[in-house]
């Protein structure tokens, strides 16, 4: 005897791609969300401070040259200002791109690769930038700056 089987309509049956991975919990996403808000507020202050001191005060953009940067980085205050700006802007931007990748990439594998590239770029830029700020030597050969005499 032929039997006909009917699948019960929508009773616990769910398309597999909609099943959510039961996950580890943790507060990473919350910390990231909070970091975006806090770093955003701090960056507004840091970036406008940077723009005002570099472009508005004194001779403005015409004064910005090697000597100007050397003079600024001779002061630990500006070293840490620029360091904070570098780190916060890079992490803020990286986290923004991370969420964009999460939102727009549809496959787990694509997500993983895009994010790997992103994290490598971020690490390189942060490390290089930090090195430049702390190992900066204004006394290039033939320098006429006062500190080098």
């Amino acid at each position: 005897m032929a039997s006909t089987e009917f699948v019960a309509p929508r009773t616990g049956r769910i398309e597999p791609q909609y099943n959510r991975m039961r996950n580890r919990g943790g507060t990473f996403e919350m910390s990231a969300w909070l970091f975006m808000r806090l770093s955003g507020v701090i960056l507004v202050v840091l970036i406008f401070g940077h723009l005002i001191t570099n472009l508005l005060v004194g001779g403005g953009i015409n004064d910005v040259d090697f000597g100007f940067v050397a003079g600024k980085w001779a002061d630990p205050f500006w070293q840490f200002w620029d360091l904070a700006m570098l780190w916060l802007a890079m992490l803020h931007g990286t986290n923004g791109l991370r969420t964009i990748i999460n939102d727009y990439a549809e496959k787990t594998r694509t997500r993983m690769w895009l994010k790997t590239v992103l994290y490598i770029c971020t690490a390189v830029i942060i490390i290089l930038g930090t090195l430049v700020i702390f190992t900066f030597d204004p006394c290039i050969p033939g320098s006429t700056l006062e500190v080098c005499n």
Binding site: I14, Q17, N23, E29, M30
Partner: protein, 260 residues
């Protein structure tokens, strides 16, 4: 034996020609419906229907006209037809609306009116989608009162202010207009979605409920409230006017306050 009942005293006699049906404006529309039938073709396609409709008609009336008079194979869900059951959410002119609450006269009838299934959920036929993933998320937030101790022998009292706290989110009819308007949900369907968060909000901020912490923990997930990008699509789509994005923000703040 027949007895004629007297007319009630409140009856108002209208002059002939007043309040008749003849004054309702009539117009022609083109209804462009996204058709999909997996038994015929794997591809979905648009189909136009030319209809003569009245100023009092809604999208749902136009769909009924098509189904009853033109093409009986057109499939869509509707139950109460009065904006309460939440069965007939669909994408009308690119926006999520209830077909039974969208009047034709409020749309631009000079152009074809597009009607398609809500996005982000698997389409089963024409305007019908599989709602199971949507209800799965809804169930996960435990949308029911959780209270410890003995059953009370009288009502659980609540002050007007405490009731007011979550009044907005009690209005949800689970039509999925918000969740299926959310671009984050469209991506991969993993996000809990606005509707689940709204229904969690309804209990999290209920003074009688004792499982708020558990719900906050559930929504602190990777796919929980932190995936919300505040695009306000959900608030715009909600046929009940719930401030959905605001509710999500309140849940975010509650999770944050609990963690710090």
């Amino acid at each position: 034996m027949s007895t004629e009942l007297p007319e009630p005293a409140s009856v108002v006699k209208l002059a002939p020609g007043v309040g008749g049906g003849g004054e309702i404006p009539k117009f022609d529309i083109t209804l462009r419906v996204r058709r999909y039938d997996p038994e015929v073709s794997e591809e979905a396609s648009w189909e136009d229907f030319k209809l003569t409709m009245y100023g009092t008609d809604r999208i749902l009336d136009a769909l009924h006209k098509v189904k009853w008079e033109h093409d009986g194979s057109l499939s869509f869900r509707r139950s109460c037809a009065h904006g309460v059951c939440g069965s007939d959410a669909m994408r009308i002119n690119g926006r999520n609306r209830l077909a039974c609450k969208t009047l034709l006269k409020d749309l631009d009838t000079s152009k074809p009116i597009t009607v398609e299934a809500i996005k982000g959920l698997p389409v089963e036929k024409d305007l019908i989608v599989d709602m199971e993933p949507f209800f799965q998320s809804y169930r996960e937030v435990m949308p029911f009162l959780v209270a410890k101790g003995h059953e009370p022998s009288k009502e659980r009292y609540q002050s007007v202010e405490d009731r007011e706290r979550f009044d907005d989110t009690t209005k949800c009819i689970l039509c999925a207009a918000c969740t299926s308007s959310c671009p984050v949900f469209w991506t991969d369907g993993q996000y809990f979605g606005p509707a689940a968060i709204v229904n969690a909000h309804r209990f999290i901020f209920d003074s009688r409920d004792e499982a708020g912490d558990m719900r906050l923990e559930i929504l602190n997930d990777k796919e929980g409230v932190w995936r919300c990008r505040t695009t306000f699509n959900c608030s715009e789509a909600c046929p009940r006017g719930i401030q959905v994005t605001k509710a999500i923000a309140e849940v975010k703040q509650a999770i944050l306050a609990r963690s710090l």
